[in-house]
Assembly symmetry: C2
Homo-oligomer: 214 residues x 2
């Protein structure tokens, strides 16, 4: 069967919304909701029914007048577009507070992101047991990546070392970097980077507060 994702290109704006749709559909499933109208869905996400219908129409004609959308079907199809019908292997580089927090984030495991290694260059941290893993020295990263198939590296190290470590990761076959290091990385073609700049998010909130106070 041909899936809709093979049929059409999906715009960047829609793609940015998909992870959120997916989370909400997942919540609905957990609450045993099996169908939903575009109006109800729009209300949950704070959007409009026409936007929802337009986005969902990209996935084929799932909605039915007077019936709404089948939640499970949408969930599975959006999951497939997001690559969640397969397992991703992951390593964390930098076992500071943030690395620590991410190691214990249960949602990642639930979505099929499996942590296979944790690396740090601090001798006080190397050797520490973390769940079923042990923190390894960043020095052994290239060897580790030769021996293991890893899809994603999570960069939780200071910006001063990020570029250097990113280079090592790319040279050893990493295809995706989830970057928390507060610096922009330049990576070779074929490597994808998703940045999480926490400070920038806080500054956006600051902007909104500043604007309200004017």
């Amino acid at each position: 069967m041909e899936t809709f994702s093979e049929k059409r290109a999906i715009s960047q704006a829609v793609i940015r919304r998909l992870p959120r749709y997916y989370r909400i559909l997942s919540d609905l499933l957990m609450r045993n909701v099996d169908r939903i109208s575009s109006t109800e869905f729009a209300e949950i996400i704070g959007s409009t029914a026409s936007q929802v219908r337009s986005d969902f129409s990209l996935f084929g004609e799932f909605g039915q007048q007077g019936y709404g959308y089948n939640v499970h079907y949408l969930y599975v199809e959006i999951g497939r577009i997001l690559g969640l019908d397969r397992v991703h292997t992951m390593i964390i580089v930098g076992y500071g507070n943030l690395g620590h927090a991410l190691c214990n984030h249960k949602n990642f495991y639930r979505r099929g992101f499996l942590l296979r290694g944790i690396f740090d260059n601090n001798p006080e941290v190397i050797g520490k047991p973390v769940n079923d893993l042990t923190v390894l020295s960043t020095d052994v990263l290239p060897d580790f990546l030769k021996d293991h198939t890893i899809d994603i590296a999570v960069l939780c190290i200071p910006s001063t070392h990020a570029k250097e470590v990113a280079k090592i990761l790319c040279q050893n076959g990493i295809k995706g970097i989830w970057n928390f290091s507060s610096t922009d990385l330049s990576v070779p073609k074929g490597v994808e980077v998703e940045n999480v700049h926490l400070t920038e998010s806080l500054l956006t909130l600051s902007y909104k507060l500043q604007k309200d106070s004017e």
Copy 2:
């Protein structure tokens, strides 16, 4: 002196870019770069010179042909738009791994975000010293907010309790919520929410990888 931020409304898209511009200008200042052309700036941020010129033109005519932009001036002006010319007081609700990581994030302090309280409902955590603070029980949150002027609450608690705690925060005068709790909050008018959905960011990376492998 009238500032440009009083002159014009700035579009949402530009606002989303400002925190990043601000970070890059800050890096440039630290490297003692005192002026930069739109082309150089565009290269750093992976945009186009015309986009940069268009965005910066909102802040008045700072650029000069053959000279470029004054880095310090832009830095100060964008900082002002972002509300960084004043100090923000902050509390963290939820002292798990993520709360722990955020408590120790030096960038926040550097940008004028001052942590004034940490709250948790876990008896094993309540009473713990954290830098110059002590973790308090979430039960005392309303009293604390009556006695202290707090601008921003950082929500690092599970989604199951987030809505309930957000309600308490809003009832006690919090104007900004930085929400890490993986759920959408509905707040009264006048309260601003900035969401950080880490799983959604990871799913976006997963999407990119999936697309590359097709």
